[in-house]
Symmetry: C2
Subunit: 325 residues, 2 copies
Amino acid sequence: MYTLEEIDHILTNFAKLRNIRREPANLYEPLDYMMSIGGKRIRPKLCLLTYNLMSDDFRNPIVFPAMALEVFHEFTLIHDDIMDRSDTRRGNPTVYKKWNENVAILSGDAMSILSYQYLAHAPEKVLPQALELFSATAMQVCEGQQYDMDFEEMPFITMEDYLGMIGLKTAVLLACSAKLGALIGGAAPEACDALYRFGYELGLAFQITDDYLDTFGNEKVFGKKIGGDITHNKKTWLLVEGIRRAAGEQKMQLEQFMQLGEEDREEKVEAVRNLYVELGVKEAAAAEILVYHRKALKALEEAGFDEENTLVLRQFAEEIIHREK
Amino acid sequence: MYTLEEIDHILTNFAKLRNIRREPANLYEPLDYMMSIGGKRIRPKLCLLTYNLMSDDFRNPIVFPAMALEVFHEFTLIHDDIMDRSDTRRGNPTVYKKWNENVAILSGDAMSILSYQYLAHAPEKVLPQALELFSATAMQVCEGQQYDMDFEEMPFITMEDYLGMIGLKTAVLLACSAKLGALIGGAAPEACDALYRFGYELGLAFQITDDYLDTFGNEKVFGKKIGGDITHNKKTWLLVEGIRRAAGEQKMQLEQFMQLGEEDREEKVEAVRNLYVELGVKEAAAAEILVYHRKALKALEEAGFDEENTLVLRQFAEEIIHREK
């Protein structure tokens, strides 16, 4: 079994070898740029980890498909940044900002095709299933992004709406990552499905953690300004729960704070944070994250592997949930 | 062997059955809209025609992949229309105009994924090759679009540049269409490659015809205003050849006309058209189209099928080149 650090090296080495120096430059430079900014690569890691439950053979038929998940994820980020008009990502200019919108559209398109080229390295006997899983997931991610954009136009949404949306936008890709590794590793269908559920619950925990840290994280560790979601009235777990809990006086306050603009940023963030604490939303979020974490661990048990073999996976789950940034 | 009309029915019936009534509406309505506007469906037709050289069995393993080509093509159109800021296509509002840019980006993304879902219906034993062909082609189409956009920023390009660009942007997809049908039909590799070349040369003839008709077509038949390319100084075969041939007085005239703006549209179109005639560009374009048509027919011969079996394919080639619109 490989450790998390060794899995990390496998992926870093792969990315270094895959430099895409091709023409036209305006199409391929943004791809290299995105790959070089990197990120935590949690999706390919998860894929390699579940694969590792069955095999130690880390040649192309598993590493390429694992990286297909990362390439696909980065494609969604390039296009999301256009749709959200975001200038920065991970502290760097977005492709949209660094080049322009047309370049971002087209290089994103090229990345989505590249992800299928990487996926195609999967062993022939599992290729049809891998494709089906990957494409279904990819479509769901688009649905999630559409719901996210639709929801921004609505005054409020229910917790059910929110969980459905993050399920599609974030959780299914982690679920797919976990299942893909198992599929390629030759695990039985029930184990593959249990690992899918593991990835899904982990994905929910991960996204709610993301929402939590944006408001309650440590700015120095987090690497970006706290309070972005509050500033933009983004429908996070915190806001959805806050609106649900608030009544009377607190409801009025929340509505007033939400009216505040960019110029009152600091006041707004401070005020809404405090309201979340008063309403018990901060505590509830932390508790909810634990609930999904536990559900994930339960699904992992149902996959039927020995505890000593699932240790690294459980460490991985810990790390991505109880992270500072 | 099916006739062109029967092939057309197969595709129309398929499109009617595949209505995608799903949610969220903002993601799937644009897909249905694009499929309903339809078009000539030349790419899936070509695929079915080459397949028909080998087989009469037109069930899902061939019709879905054939339609994958159409879905992919429509995805490129949705995104191209954003990048070109086009309001209309085939006489209808573009998705970009009818909805908005974000919807156009995301529904385009969904279409590209859908194309892979359709392709995945190809028989398992040819799936790896079909995927490789399709993805390589898709990537080349992105390259072609990037070159097209890059070239718009340049004062002039060579004929070599132009042919390379339309090769990538248009011809490879027709080549892929022809080869895919042969692949799925089980043709020998040499026949598959000859049919690829047939599609490629046909694609070049098709694009140059497109350029020709935009300037010299019959507006009533063509269905759209003549002279759009001239108005926008688009680097078509005509302009590239015109710049190459023009010298002295005619060079100066051409440069002057290219400076004219939207407000002098009619004057500009008239003037440049006449210059093309004077320079012999109009005749040369018609001759060039014939050259590529002949190359296509030669490649088709090299595929090694009986003349009576390739009749419908040759009729198809005639129709798409010697079309009025």
